[in-house]
Each structure stands twice: as C-alpha cells, then as structure tokens.
C-alpha cells in the first residue's frame, strides 16, 4: 500500500489495520494449534506390515480394498511429532513426545489408518484406545490402559494390556489375551483357539466351539462366564480354588462335581460328544456356565 493509497469508504487506515491484527493476536495467544491433521499414503504389495507406536491417543484401523496404507493423524499440539517411514512392504508409524512440562492431553495423537485386509499389525498404545475392524492378518497389540476392540478379525491375535479392557467380536483365528485388571469380552466368536488370562478382570465368552478347538479362560478373581447352545460339543473342566462354579450345561457324567480337597469347587464333564476342549480356572472367583439366550 503506497502513501497515496486511500482506504475505501473513508475508514481510517489504523482501524483497518487493527481489525486485521486483533484477531491474529487473539489466535496467537490461544496457545499451540489444535487438530493439526497429517495425511500420508503408502503403496504396498500383498501382506504388508504396519507398525504403530503411539503412547497417547486412539488408533483406529480399518481394512479397505486398495493396495495402499492411508495414515491420517490428528495431533493435539506441536509437542508431539508424527513420523512415518516405509521400508519396502513395511510401514512404520510412530509419535514422539516432547514432554517439556506439557500435559498428557498436549501429547495426544489420534490415528485413522486404512490398510489392505491381509495386513499384519503391530500396535503399541498406552492410553487412548485401539479399534481394529475387518483386518485378517496377524496382530500384536500392547497397551497399558487403552481399551482394545477388535471386530471381524482373523489370524493370530496377541493382546496384552495392564488394565485396558479387550472386546473381541466375530473374531476368527487364534487369540492370546493377557491382562492384569482388564475385562475381556468375547462375543459371537469363530475362533479355534482362545487363551485369555486376566487377574482381577471378568471374562465373558460366547461363540462357536470348533471341533478340536481349545478355549482356556483363567482369572484370579472376578467372574468367568461362558455361554453355550444345546448343540455345542465340548469337554469342560471348570475349577475355582476358593470360589463357586455354577453350571447349566447337561454334562456326562451327570453328577460330576468335585470338591477340591475340601476347598473350592471343580467340574468335569462332556457336552454332547466332547469335541472341543474348554478349560475354565479361577483362584477365588465365580465360574458360570450358562445357556445362551
């Protein structure tokens, strides 16, 4: 703007300047930018490996039909940096936090990731949440308090949390789940091998019992609940050292309750032809073997 330029409509130049500067000053004083969005695309071939290391925030992974990994990251502030790197068929996604007196919310990054359905996933998320759907490759998920939710997955699934809960719906393949105080919920399961152990959490299981399948559910205290249908076929042993075992299944032999050396309860028997193997174990919790509604 030259010295000869006149502002329109007789508005003083200083007011025009102020009307532009003032909002800028307000925005600058509001702190680091929020909702910073980063998007990256990676071309991959079949069976890619995607690793995500995100201490704070959510990780949502969905399968799609493209031979591509799409990463969308939203970070709370610039105190958290997002790194993505591709090595051949492996995509690595990580966040790096710069604490510097920042609050945990400032260090948060949320991811939405689209992957081919045959992707192998390795996810590390301390607090936030992990949601995976329709991915059929092997999976390793480790969290501290983040809740883990898997839907319509397959492959070898390994989930380890400290107190984060784990929900698994319509999952196939093999599942290994460990926690200290997280609750487990397995619904509409189609897995041939489930090993789930939590110390203080509850375990709920409902689904198919495949012939030669193995289903091992174990806790120290809390409730273990297994739902069955009349047509299911399994051998079952249910043991609670200091708690109770409640059973609605028609097992053979019919009266097969045992008292364990005068302490606790145990139950052994076969439902129909006993083709699957079910082992339920608790230290002082309650075991319920109930009919499915």
């Amino acid at each position: 703007m030259t010295a000869q330029t006149q502002p329109p409509l007789g508005i003083p130049r200083s007011w025009k300047t102020a009307s532009v500067l003032l909002p800028c000053l307000v925005l600058m004083s509001a702190g680091p930018a929020l909702g910073d969005r980063i998007e990256r695309h990676f071309k991959v071939e079949s069976h890619p490996i995607v690793t995500i290391h995100n201490p704070t925030g959510t990780v949502t992974v969905r399968a799609w039909t493209k031979a591509e990994v799409l990463v969308i990251a939203k970070r709370a502030t610039d105190r958290v940096e997002v790194d993505t790197e591709q090595n051949a068929n492996r995509v690595e996604i990580s966040t790096r936090q710069i604490p510097d007196n920042a609050s945990p919310n400032d260090l948060r990054a949320d991811f939405e990731i689209n992957v081919p359905e045959d992707t192998e996933l390795q996810i590390h998320d301390d607090s936030g949440g992990v949601n995976v759907s329709n991915v059929l490759g092997d999976m390793n998920v480790e969290t501290i308090g983040a809740e883990v939710a898997l839907e319509d997955t397959a492959g070898f699934l390994s989930v380890n949390t400290v107190d984060g809960g784990f929900q698994c719906s319509r999952c196939a393949g093999r599942i290994e789940a460990h926690s200290i105080s997280g609750n487990f919920r397995f619904a509409e399961m189609r897995s041939y091998h489930v090993h789930a152990q939590t110390s203080e959490g509850n375990i709920f299981f409902s689904g198919e019992f495949f012939p030669s399948g193995i289903y091992q559910l174990k806790n120290y205290s809390g409730v273990i609940e297994v739902r069955f249908q009349p047509g299911d076929s399994f051998d079952i042993s249910a043991t609670s050292l200091k708690g109770k075992v409640n059973n609605e299944a028609k097992l053979t032999p019919s009266s097969h309750h045992h008292s364990l050396r005068g302490v606790g309860n145990a139950l052994f028997g076969s439902m129909n032809t006993g083709r699957a193997k079910v082992e339920l174990s608790s230290f002082d919790g309650t075991i319920n073997i109930l009919k499915r509604d």
């Binding site: 910073d36 990256r40 290391h53 610039d78 997002v82 993505t84 790197e85 051949a88 492996r90 990580s94």
Partner: protein
C-alpha cells in the same frame, strides 16, 4: 512445526544392505547389544554408537558441505534424529545404513534450503540440463587433469556440484559405498545411482577444466602485465 521423515518420491529400497563396513563391535559389546541398551536409554550405549559411527558421518557431512562448522551442525542433527527414533529401529536394515540415510537426508535438506528452492528428493537427484547436467563437451586434449588434480581442487569442485550429484559422488567415490547401498540410503534405484554418479564425474571434469583454463588465463594476464611494465 511438523516433522516428517517419510521418503519423498517413488523410489523404494531394494532390500536390506548386508555389507558391514567395519566390525560391528566396540570392544567386547556387539553393536546389536548397544542398540538394545540405547533403546532403553542407556547413556553409555548411546556414546558407544556415537563413537563407532561419528567419524564416518562427520566425514560424509564435511565432504558434502565443505566446511567444518556446518559439518558439525549436520552431524549433531543426524545423530539427534537417529537417537530420537532409535526405539523404532527393528533391524530390517543395517544400523549404519539407517544412520547414513538419516545423515544424507539431513545434509540434502540443508543444501536445498541453501539453494533457496523447495525441491523434492527426486529433483535433487535429477537436475535438469540447465541446472548442471553435463554437457557433451570433451574439452581440449591438452587439458588433462592427470598431474594437476589434487584433493583440494577436487573438493572445491565437489562443493559446486548440485546436491544430488554431490551426495552420490561422495557416497560412492569418496566413501566407497556400492550402488545398492546408495540406492537404499538415497531412496532411489540402482540404475539411478549409477547414472547420477556418471553425471557427477562428468560435471566435475568440466568444473576442473574450467579451473585450469581460468588459471591459465590469469597467468597470461600476469605475464602480459609484467611485459608491459618492462616496456
């Protein structure tokens, strides 16, 4: 400021580099052990890794930028980036390759900033003919470099190369990396690496010949001035 370390451009590395440039041990502690301890924050492990690789990285940076102050800054930045990301290292490639890839990226970004242009990695490895592609010019037969070429004037010529040429030349001819290693470090194809090296050498020859011609011109001017003054 967003910090991204993803590779720009379509080049995909052709696999891990098996070459070991030096023994992977410092004393009795294998490098893999140092990496593992460094991933847990062990200061001594970081120092071991630094001592093991700093000379090579610093030499690379020095030859790329030509002055010690910048080379120090770049070396520190490369190691800082490496150690910040060390927890993500999973051993798919040799650690040294990973480190040198970081170092080359750091240097190239610096050189790009200095040139004042925002260029992609592809662009700095594929300069157009106007920017520095070698001319199909043989030069005079009496301007042979043999006998007049030394490290000093070669380094001066290297400093004038475009960043991409410079990187490939330093990595291959000076530091002795093979083309498959350079391809992984630079994120390009082996063919691309070979092509860039050839263009770099041809360009260096032109620059060195120009220096010889300029020196000859100065000598003639000096001789002409001396004879005029005698007259």
């Amino acid at each position: 400021m967003e910090r991204l370390t993803h590779r720009i451009g379509g080049c995909v590395p052709t696999g891990s580099v098996a070459r070991a440039r030096r023994t992977e041990t410092t004393g009795e502690i294998p490098e893999s052990e140092s990496i593992r301890l460094a991933q847990r924050g062990d200061a001594a492990a970081f120092e071991r890794l630094y001592q093991q690789h700093s000379r090579r990285v610093y030499s690379l940076c020095l030859r790329m930028v030509g002055n010690t102050a910048e080379a120090e800054d770049l070396t520190q930045e490369a190691f800082l980036q490496l150690f910040r990301k060390i927890s993500t290292f999973r051993g798919e490639s040799a650690f040294s390759t990973w480190l040198h890839r970081l170092a080359v990226n750091v240097v190239l970004m610096k050189l790009r900033k200095k040139s004042g242009k925002e260029t992609s990695l592809e662009q700095v490895t594929e300069p157009d003919d106007e920017a520095g592609g070698p001319r199909r010019d043989f030069g005079a037969a009496d301007l042979k470099l043999t006998g007049s070429l030394d490290r000093v004037n070669l380094q001066r010529a290297v400093d004038q190369l475009p960043p991409g040429y410079r990187a490939v030349f330093v990595l291959h001819d000076v530091q002795g990396y093979e083309h498959n290693e350079i391809a992984e470090i630079m994120g390009c194809s082996i063919g691309n690496s070979k092509s860039q090296l050839h263009k770099a050498r041809m360009r260096l020859r032109e620059l060195l010949h120009e220096e010889i011609r300029e020196k000859a011109r100065e000598e003639r001017r000096a001789a002409g001035s001396a004879s005029n003054s005698e007259d």
